[in-house]
């Protein structure tokens, strides 16, 4: 693989850009692999990447039914933060945030990580108390966050109306090192690096069955035929229940639609990410100038990647109250993804009842921020056969044992 660099750009400029290579190979599947990862979203690709980088396992296939990054990874609003409440969450999200800082160098691909700061507004007294608690917890966990007052909110984001009639802004939890990144680039960067290590990324290939013998996984059936493997990682977000069904176990999660939308591009007006959990909306401005907007999930099970229009209306209504200047903006695009939501709003990373079959799912509405760290932890688990310290608490047994990692209170909306 030729490296991307300023020199490469200059070199190609002199020869009509004729020398750029394809970013990844498009191979046919081999008969067997050491590890198969199902799902070429961010989490699946990051798992493959760290399997190669940290554990030297490169006889790996990542199997994707659509195109890589076409699931939630390419549909999300890219908020990255790590100021969660519980210790296991803070550990894995902070690992992930810090890996985002060096990812462009690690994969030699510009993922446009922009640590512009993330602000979560407190608009009720209950929320103020909740965020003060998170601030204290984060200080003990070594995650840099502070609670700031309304004046600071206005200073950081002048377009906010802090004196709204229903929900005045009482303060905010502020994580200056949070931010955004280019979602496609995260998938593409990992895909290119994995392909370069000799891994096969097989797109347009749906897994239709999980093969097993004597309680151990032996391979998968796909629309391109059967493929054997020694170990299997299921990393399919909204379709986790479907894959678990193929593998013969159940998961404590449900699949629902989450939507987002972007406006027409406007001049720079906001250089932080703002989340307003009480009124259910959040917004940031992309490098192209579009306002990127999201809200809460739909309320019922859905696999169609289409959501209900009235949720868009609610989100926009809430944000117009918070940011009056957007009231005349035209919206350009709107879309949905299917997110896998668990009872405690924390992910599942763990072994499954099927031997040598591992799962990473349940990231729900907020797993983009976790991609590098989750891949790191999942790769470690697949390589060693047991979850390491980052993943240990996230096993699916926690629901039976009552060891919840409860983030549902901490993150009213999502992300």
């Amino acid at each position: 693989m030729k490296r991307y660099s300023a020199f490469a750009v200059a070199r190609e400029a002199f020869r009509h850009h004729a020398g750029w290579e394809r970013a990844w190979r498009n191979p046919e599947p081999k008969k067997s692999y050491d590890v198969i990862i199902i799902g070429a979203g961010g989490h699946g690709l990051a798992t493959a990447f760290w399997l190669g980088k940290n554990h030297g396992i490169t006889n790996v296939a990542v199997i994707e039914k659509g195109w890589l990054g076409g699931g939630n990874t390419g549909r999300n609003t890219t908020i990255i933060r790590s100021n969660y409440l519980q210790d296991p969450s803070a550990a894995i999200y902070e690992k992930s945030r810090s890996l985002y800082e060096t990812m462009s160098q690690d994969v030699n691909y510009n993922i446009m990580f922009s640590p512009r700061g993330v602000m979560m507004l407190a608009q009720t007294h209950h929320e103020v108390r909740g965020y003060l608690r998170t601030e204290h917890a984060n200080n003990l966990q070594g995650v840099a966050t502070t609670f700031v007052g309304p004046e600071k909110v206005k200073e950081l984001c002048p377009i906010i109306n802090i004196d709204g009639p229903r929900y005045p802004v009482l303060g905010a939890l502020w994580q200056p090192r949070g931010g955004t990144a280019r979602h496609d680039a995260v998938a593409w960067g990992y895909a290119r690096a994995c392909s370069d290590m000799g891994m096969d990324i097989i797109q347009q290939c749906e897994v239709t069955g999980v093969r097993q013998q004597g309680g151990q996984v032996t391979g998968v059936d796909t629309t391109k035929g059967a493929i054997d493997c020694k170990k299997l990682g299921i990393v399919v977000a909204g379709h986790s229940g479907v894959l678990a069904d193929m593998a013969g176990f159940r998961l404590p999660l449900e699949s629902v639609a989450l939507q987002a939308l972007v406006s027409e591009p406007i001049k720079p007006c906001m250089d932080v990410v703002v989340m307003a959990n009480t009124v259910h909306g959040y917004m940031s401005q992309s490098d192209k100038g579009e306002m990127v907007i999201g809200g809460g999930t739909d309320g019922y099970n859905n696999y169609t990647q289409r959501g209900s229009f009235h949720h868009i209306e609610e989100t926009v209504r809430a944000l117009i109250e918070t940011f009056p200047m957007i009231s005349r903006l035209k919206m350009l695009r709107q879309w949905g993804g299917i997110v896998d939501v668990t009872g405690d709003r924390s992910p599942i990373i763990g072994k499954t009842p099927l031997g040598n079959c591992f799962i990473n799912c349940g990231w729900g509405t907020g797993g983009f921020k976790a991609i590098p760290g989750s891949g790191w932890a999942t790769a470690e688990m697949i390589a060693k056969g047991e979850p390491g310290p980052l993943a240990a608490e996230f096993g699916m047994d926690r629901f039976k044992e009552g060891r919840f990692i409860d983030e549902s209170v901490a993150a009213g909306v999502a992300h």
Binding site: N302, T304, R306
Partner: protein
């Protein structure tokens, strides 16, 4: 937009009139039940790509709970029925079988 017929008022209710209430026909478990039973009751949900049975409330209408049968991969509504039952009516199951041969859901098929 989702439209469900409220079996009590008999009107076609728009989604904005309704509140979703999750999976229908849950078996409840109380004191003395095993950990597996509690886990199943509290956290394990049918999450099918296909036929699903749900509870809904006509919250901005008559206020009553009812049941609906839907397809989660096409958003087709197979029908709605009263909440005063522990299983989907035979008639509705027949309709679903004609449209989705071989379906099964929990202990029903």
């Amino acid at each position: 937009m989702l439209t469900l017929n409220c079996p009590y008022c008999g009107i076609a209710a728009d989604e904005t009139e309704l509140s979703p209430g999750g999976q229908a026909h849950l078996k409840r478990f109380g004191p003395g039940s095993s950990e597996d039973e509690f886990e199943g009751y509290l956290f394990m949900r049918e999450n099918p790509r296909g036929v699903h049975f749900e509870r809904w409330r006509h919250s901005n209408g008559c206020g009553k709970w009812f049941h609906a049968a839907r397809c989660t991969s096409t958003l087709e509504v197979f029908g709605t029925y009263s909440a005063q039952t522990v299983e989907p009516p035979a008639e509705l199951r027949k309709t679903i079988s004609e449209k989705r041969p071989g379906w099964s859901w929990g202990e029903f098929s």
